[in-house]
């Protein structure tokens, strides 16, 4: 049900624009909370039933608790200081502490990947970067690129040159 109204609204706008926009231009997409695109369709005839696949006996109402950003930011700064001072285990511990508060924060997972890279734990650094990417939403393109660059460096470090080139291509 979540998509229904934005989708309709967007479609009205899209149709209104149809007169001027060239047909071959990709249509604007609806960013769902998760970042996915809903296919646009013509407006429905009145009275039709629309059910997006939000198998919805009960529309979800509970919203996730807001992330306390200040605590997370402080822990990230602490991790930066520790990393600069060469205390990599300490930095990892601070970042894990931040993850306990904000477990879906792709930036913190990325930072942890950077610490692992510096420790020479390339395999783990690569896994952590892909996890960071899997949590990044469509808007965090810079972070996604940084993750791919990190993955490329890790692959290069273990001699996987083809893999590194593939990752670099994704970073562009």
């Amino acid at each position: 049900m979540r998509f229904q109204y934005p989708a309709t609204l967007l479609l009205s706008l899209l149709l209104a624009a149809c007169g001027t926009a060239p047909r071959t231009e990709p249509p604007a997409t609806v960013i769902t909370p998760g970042g996915a695109a809903l296919p646009p369709s013509p407006p429905p005839p009145p009275g039709t039933e629309i059910r997006p696949y939000e198998p919805s006996a009960l529309p979800p109402s509970a919203q996730p608790r807001p992330v306390p950003n200040r605590a997370v930011a402080v822990l990230q700064r602490r991790a930066d200081d520790q990393q600069r001072a060469g205390d990599l285990d300490g930095a990892a511990a601070s970042l894990e502490r931040a993850l306990r508060i904000s477990p879906r924060d792709p930036m913190v997972w990325h930072r942890l990947a950077l610490v692992r890279e510096q420790q020479g734990r390339y395999g783990q650094a690569e896994e952590l970067s892909s996890k960071s990417n899997s949590l990044a939403d469509g808007l965090e393109t810079q972070l996604v690129r940084d993750n791919w660059r990190l993955i490329a460096r890790c692959r290069r470090a273990v001699g996987d040159l083809a893999g590194a080139r593939a990752a670099e291509a994704r970073a562009r």
Partner: protein
């Protein structure tokens, strides 16, 4: 035989006759004295060496201490006032009017002042300070340093201690230094046990004479003449045997101790050695542990009457056991208070107040290892992989774990409560159902609660780890994930065959699986087959995919056990423990990234130096897009499939999960996750008899109530970049359009949407153009 002694006696007579009478008397005596002196000298040397080795070496085997995770405080933290009070009480903090010392707190009008104790964490010290906390609903809204009035970004309370790993002889102690012994304790102890401690040299002849006189007058032992040093010598170096020789050794050791070490060293050793109580098989030694054991607080925070009770226990910890014999203990405590007044350590008014105070001992077992035996059992098993048993029991390691005591208590309570409720409602004999539950963090796999049975406070059969049971339909997500991973062949609307099937099983018997409702549903879309947990469709699907592929998926998701490739695996003949199932579902909850479940975060040595960290590890186990589709499908299970009953417990909160039921209703399972937690519940009987419960009537309500109590966060699924939505006719599985009646937008891995178009789709004429945009 009889002849030999006779001959010997004649020869000795001869010798006697040959020597003058005087010399014959003196010589053996001198010899004997020489020998005695030599012996005593040698023995003294020997003892002296023993004393040095024992006293200057590692004096005690100090058990590893196990800590729960600390409570993190920061503005915005999900924390109710009730939970804060609960945590403070578990830490032995006392509510006072004006908190000035560590371990005290006050509250007025929703504002709390808490004077914390400093604590050495793995990554540094958290200093003790005066905190000001304010709440808004179930959230900590403000956290300030009360001294400066400045906001604090984040800090940790000290962690609660949840157990210790003590050695075979089961002596447990918390070491204290001389400077940590409260003055009142030292003064009281000396007043009662050894008034001349600071002036004697190890033994107190006057004391012995006085005791002897008192005992003779009374006709029995009423007074001991032993100094503290002698008591230490006895407890530390000697056995319980009662003999003159032992008494002599005791005195000798006392003299050696006094000659070698100063009074404070002796006092410190005494304070750590003295036996002060018994907790089941665990012996409570030393004032440091006794303070925790009886009062749930550190020694430094005890008040006069409590100190007096501990001093009183020296005379006989079991006879004066304040939990078992409170009246006797109180009389003894008051006697100690009298002595303290007599010695000028207390004034009359203080003594009066102290005498009127209750004993103040905590309920039994509040802070000992019996608190969370199932979790501590898991910790011990994990530690055994990396540490020798003797190091665990003797090196005083500090083990920091992932246990959230509050979550643990909720889970224990609700599991027990729900099982009793099910028994009542269904007329099942009380006490026959058993259960287990595991709760972990979804993204990083930290185990926050682990309950091994209804009687969670007692160590026993740890079902969370050791009950290896068939997992039934909990296995199905692995089958469907395998299919969704082959995006060229399968998507959420792919029609599956739910017709009857017969197979030869591993024993060459005919196997004819059935749906739960005993009917075949014809062709069903894949998502519905999982949501309704259709067995026949799953068996057809699994056989098409190949058993080996499904088993691969299970192993990628975290099953380490060897899985036999029998078709019945597809319906969960595979047996796993609740903990193993938690790993499987953690990987799903984390979007396909497996993080090995952890119970331990860090290990410190006894001086607080970091030894080891167990960091979060991540491994991609499955394609993110396939896991996303599966998880959407598991949401459908919870919303309108076999787990729709969850709405009764978690109305409006999006979660994903799967029910599991095994043959003849022997095992009832539920596994699921929200945004922050993953959890698994098993309900069944220890004798493996049928319970009459399905996954949704047995385990599901437990899971729902536990997760509601833990305020599980709604599931958030990030749609991978290569997933797009298409409108589909849910009945035919054909591509449809938004305006078509009944159309549903399903997620598809890009390029894998159905190609057949519903007639309705073309009715507006632009559908094809739009479709082109996505190709």
């Amino acid at each position: 035989m009889p002849r030999k002694p006779r001959r010997k006696s004649t020869s000795s007579k001869k010798r006697q006759r040959a020597n003058p009478r005087k010399r014959s008397w003196l010589r053996p005596l001198l010899g004997l004295a020489m020998l005695g002196l030599l012996l005593v000298g040698g023995y003294t040397l020997y003892l002296s060496h023993e004393v040095r080795v024992k006293f200057e070496g590692k004096r005690w085997a100090v058990p590893a201490r196990v800590y729960a995770q600390p409570l993190e405080l920061f503005a915005g933290a999900p924390l109710s006032q009730a939970r804060l009070r609960d945590e403070l009480s578990a830490l032995g903090f006392r509510q006072v009017r004006n908190p000035v010392k560590g371990g005290q707190w006050s509250s007025a009008g929703g504002r709390y002042l808490v004077q914390t104790r400093s604590f050495l964490f793995w990554d540094g010290e958290e200093p003790g300070r005066l905190l000001e906390l304010r709440f808004a609903g179930d959230q900590l809204s403000e956290l300030n340093d009360a001294a400066s009035g400045q906001p604090l970004d984040i800090m940790r309370l000290e962690p609660t201690e949840i157990g210790s790993i003590y050695p075979a002889h089961r002596e447990d102690r918390v070491l204290v230094r001389r400077d940590q012994l409260p003055d009142a304790l030292v003064a009281g102890l000396l007043a009662v046990e050894d008034r001349k401690f600071y002036s004697h040299h190890g033994i107190d002849p006057m004391g012995i004479a006085r005791a002897l006189w008192a005992n003779v007058r009374a006709g029995r032992t009423v007074q001991g003449g032993s100094t503290l040093t002698q008591q230490l010598a006895k407890n530390f170096f000697l056995t319980e045997e009662r003999s003159l020789w032992r008494k002599f050794s005791e005195a000798l050791i006392a003299l050696i101790l006094e000659a070698r070490y100063d009074k404070d060293e002796i006092l410190e050793a005494y304070a750590n050695e003295i036996y002060l109580g018994q907790d089941g098989q665990r012996a409570i030694h030393g004032f440091g542990l006794a303070a925790h054991f009886y009062f749930g607080r550190p020694l430094q925070e005890l008040r006069e009457p409590e100190v007096a009770l501990l001093v009183g226990l020296v005379k006989g910890a079991s006879y004066y056991n304040p939990r078992r014999n409170p009246e006797r203990a109180k009389a003894r405590r008051d006697l100690v208070l009298d002595v303290m007044v007599e010695q000028g350590l207390l004034d009359a008014r203080q003594a009066q107040r102290a005498r009127s105070a209750p004993l103040g001992v905590t309920e039994r077992g509040k802070r000992d290892s019996a608190s969370y035996p199932d979790f501590v059992d898991l910790v011990r098993r994990h530690l055994r992989r990396d540490y020798r048993e003797e190091d665990l029991t003797s090196e005083g390691l500090r083990i920091f774990t992932t246990l959230d005591p509050w979550a643990q208590r909720q889970t224990e309570r609700l599991l027990a409560d729900q099982l009793a409720r099910i028994e009542r409602q269904r007329g099942i004999p009380a006490g026959t159902l058993e259960g287990a539950a595991v709760v972990a963090t979804a993204q990083s796999g930290e185990i926050t609660a682990l309950v091994g049975g209804r009687q969670a406070g007692y160590a026993g059969f740890n079902r969370a780890i050791d009950a290896i049971r068939p997992i039934g339909s909990l296995v199905k997500p692995a089958v469907y994930l395998t299919a969704l991973g082959r995006s060229g062949s399968y998507n959420l609307v792919t029609p599956l065959d739910d017709s009857a099937i017969q197979l030869r099983d591993e024993r060459d018997q005919l196997w004819a699986p059935q749906n739960y409702d005993q009917t075949s549903h014809g062709m069903v879309p894949l998502h519905r087959a999982l949501a309704q947990s259709y067995n026949l469709a799953t068996v057809h699907l699994g056989l098409d995919l190949g058993l080996a592929s499904v088993i691969d998926t299970l192993q990628e998701l975290g099953v380490e056990r060897n899985i036999q490739p029998y078709p019945s695996v597809l319906l969960g003949s595979l047996s796993l423990s609740p903990l193993e199932v938690t790993q499987l579902y953690q990987t799903l909850a984390a979007g396909g990234f497996r993080s090995p479940l952890r119970a331990i975060r860090e290990v410190q040595d006894n001086s607080g130096q970091p030894l080891q960290r167990y960091p979060v590890e991540v491994a991609r186990a499955a394609d993110a897009a396939a896991v996303f589709l599966l998880n959407r499908n598991l949401v459908e299970v919870a919303r309108e499939g076999t787990a729709r009953g969850l709405a009764n417990y978690l109305p409006g909160t999006e979660v994903a999960g799967k029910t599991g039921t095994t043959n003849d209703l022997r095992d009832s399972w539920f596994a699921g996750f929200g945004g922050d937690r993953v959890g698994v519940v098993w309900v069944g009987r220890d004798d493996n008899q049928p319970t009459g419960l399905t996954g949704s009537s047995g385990a599901l309500p437990v899971w729902g109530r536990v997760m509601a109590a833990l305020a599980i966060q709604p599931l958030q699924l990030s749609t991978p970049g290569n997933v797009t939505y298409e409108w589909v006719n849910p009945d035919s599985g054909d591509l449809s359009a938004e305006h078509c009646s009944g159309a549903v937008a399903f997620p598809f891995i890009t390029g894998t949407a159905p190609t057949n178009a519903d007639p309705c789709r073309g009715s507006f004429g632009v559908g094809d153009a739009i479709r082109r945009w996505f190709e």
